[in-house]
């Protein structure tokens, strides 16, 4: 029974000390300090080669090139690079362009410091029966689930979720239900067999100049105001929740028995709690304002700490991160607030809760202009009370572009090596 004891001890040990908190639970997690931050970056005309690219930044303080760009691989042209994520085995990074709906697959495992573009899928719209705007990439066993924002027919908000297998072959399209037709994020809680989707707006709006868009009352009517609860295994919608104001990123709580998720609404600046009720259904309720909603600070990305205690909320317009204590998920309270830059969008906290990374770009046509168009990756330490700067990379000065989603990498994860006493 020695082996049984070994297993028990291994299980009892805290396994995942590193990594990021918002990735698919199907994905193996790296442990310990991340070596790299991969940043899917929008190209900017006149900046470097002007193309969308995957940028790799050294993030291990022990590395001689800490805080420096290690590599970048351009995909050629600008496609509104936005989100991406690893496959279930973490060997490949999939990324999408919201403008022309092209998917890119980078191999990371062979050389984590220098990801390589190995596949381009330019048949997404045709494969999927007219889906446009691949957004969230969420690893499933042997597959990649992709939520989308729009459709080919009218470029509006009616959209679908799409599945490809890991070889890049199309598997299926599941359209959003009637009266909840908008899409944005998709996240699965496998323990409950429940999947949540949120809603944003169609290509007509997200590719439009932000100033012109907000000045067009008719266009502003075309934003999502629903979340859908799905039977994940059956891919069937079981409940539509009213969440006015474009609910965006979804984060399921990570601790056992925490049967709830958070989202924030872009247009109404609120934190919403989506919690399972005693009868198994879900209820959505606003639980906190984010800044002054009258000023439309535009909450964008959120990140939930692995212990479900802290929710990091970025607001684009004031470039600020507010850290909420969500120990009581019904009563979030701000415990720290820091301006990150003139604009800020994505936020990713490490699994160990000690580091938080930020990027600046929202969408090419929505980013601020002139001197306020700062484009950066910034790393901060987090001690549970305040954010402390670690390093930053100026993506314009470096000739890279507009940085968007971030994911973490580690050399030894891919070395197939077992470490004694580490």
């Amino acid at each position: 029974m020695r082996a049984f004891a070994l297993i028990a001890v291994l299980l009892a040990a805290p396994l995942a000390r590193g990594d990021e908190t918002c990735m698919s639970p199907y994905m193996p997690k790296i442990t310990g300090q991340e070596d790299y931050v991969y940043v899917w970056t929008l190209g900017v005309d006149g900046v470097g080669d002007g193309s969308d690219k995957l940028v790799t930044v050294a993030a291990n303080p022990k590395a001689p090139n800490y805080g420096k760009v290690v590599s970048s691989v351009s995909v050629g042209g600008r496609h509104e690079a936005h989100h991406g994520d690893f496959t279930d085995d973490r060997r490949f990074f999939w990324a999408g362009g919201l403008d022309d709906s092209v998917l890119y697959v980078f191999e990371v495992a062979a050389d984590p410091a220098h990801p390589k573009l190995v596949r381009t899928i330019d048949s997404f719209v045709r494969d999927t029966g007219g889906v446009v705007g691949p957004h969230t990439f969420f690893a499933l066993p042997g597959r990649m689930l992709v939520s989308a924002l729009s459709n080919e027919r009218d470029q509006g908000g009616r959209t679908a979720m799409v599945t490809y297998n890991n070889d890049g072959k199309f598997v299926e399209t599941v359209w959003m239900p009637d009266k909840a037709e908008y899409g944005y994020d998709v996240r699965v809680q496998p323990r409950l067999n429940r999947m949540l989707t949120s809603s944003f707006t169609g290509r007509q709006n997200y590719m439009r100049d932000f100033g012109a868009l907000v000045a067009d009352p008719e266009a502003m009517k075309h934003f999502g105001s629903t979340m859908v609860v799905w039977d994940f295994h059956a891919r069937k919608a079981v409940q539509t929740l009213e969440v006015p104001g474009a609910p965006l990123e979804i984060r399921w709580a990570l601790q056992p028995r925490h049967n709830y998720a958070f989202t924030t609404t872009a247009l109404t600046s609120k934190i919403w709690l989506v919690a399972q009720q005693d009868d198994g259904s879900f209820r959505a309720a606003p639980v906190a304002d984010i800044g002054d909603p009258k000023k439309t600070p535009l909450p964008v990305d959120i990140s939930l700490s692995a212990d479900d205690r802290f929710l990091f909320v970025d607001t684009f317009m004031d470039g600020t991160c507010r850290v909420y204590d969500v120990s009581d998920p019904r009563k979030p309270r701000v415990v720290h607030q820091q301006r990150i830059g003139s604009q800020v969008n994505m936020v990713s906290e490490t699994w160990d809760g000690e580091r938080v990374y930020f990027t600046s770009s929202l969408l090419a046509n929505w980013d601020k202009k002139g001197k306020d168009n700062e484009q950066f990756l910034k790393a901060y330490g987090w001690d549970g009370k305040r954010l402390s700067p670690l390093f930053q990379v100026d993506f314009l000065a470096a000739g890279l572009g507009r940085p968007h989603i971030m994911r973490f990498g580690q050399e030894r994860f891919y070395k197939n090596q077992i470490f004694e006493g580490s």
């Binding site: 020695r2 082996a3 049984f4 070994l6 297993i7 001890v9 291994l10 299980l11 396994l15 995942a16 639970p25 199907y26 994905m27 193996p28 442990t31 279930d88 085995d89 973490r90 494969d127 999927t128 029966g129 007219g130 889906v131 499933l140 066993p141 042997g142 080919e152 679908a160 599945t163 297998n165 070889d167 199309f170 598997v171 299926e172 399209t173 359209w175 959003m176 239900p177 009637d178 496998p190 323990r191 409950l192 067999n193 429940r194 039977d231 295994h233 059956a234 891919r235 069937k236 919608a237 056992p256 580690q410 994860f413 070395k415 197939n416 090596q417 077992i418 470490f419 004694e420 006493g421």
Partner: protein
Amino acid sequence: MTRRAFAALLALAGQAVAAEVAAPARLRGVDPTALGYTYAVGTFVPEYAPPAVGSYTLPVIQTVGDHPLLDADGRPATLFALKRGEVAVVAFIYTTCVEVAGCPLGNAVLKRIDAALAAEPSLARRAQLITVSFDPERDTPARMAEVRALYHPSASWRFVTTRGEAELRPLLDDFGQPVAKLRFADGRWSGLFRHVLKVFLLDRENRVRNVYSVGFLGPELVLNDVRTLLREADASPPPGAGCLASPTTAVSAPPPAGARGPSPRRR
């Protein structure tokens, strides 16, 4: 992980490792808590009732080919021969795996499925369980026979291996099951493999219709999926009898605006 979930997982795995697992000698001298595994997979105990049989469809994920195997009696076999044109649940394991959320869990779940099939002979006749080792070096036919004896299959549960890497690699690549030897810093093999447990559901046409990893590897869910595939097969005309859409049919246009309810799942 909750105490209850932890206990449930250990109970499952305990069935699989009740016999002594041959942990590599060098690992026995290492404090397990100091082992720096470079990844960890989340573990989940399902807290839901699976959707009803036939209330959903399972899209075609990929199609696999036939591959040579060796059965636990040392006889040459192939995947398709063992499958016999039926629905099959195929799990890739190695018998000395010490990751509780890995091969032991896979074996434990297949044990429960085997017991359920045995209790339902009409179902058992139409479903095969196949456990394939990806460690042909140590998991010889004789070793697989030992493991088979440990589990006492009641229905059609086969334990197979391969003659070596030349047969194994194309099989793993075909299914999309990455496996790599975990080595110490000096390059010597630790005796462990890096792998993520994957269990594959094949339909009668050798198409992968579901892939289960830890989060969804529950016996009830797999059994419901098997029954759903059989119901689908029973409802389909024999080959050549018609031109109804097969599960490989891809996509139709977006549903018309105003369509009621969720659009049908497209495959």
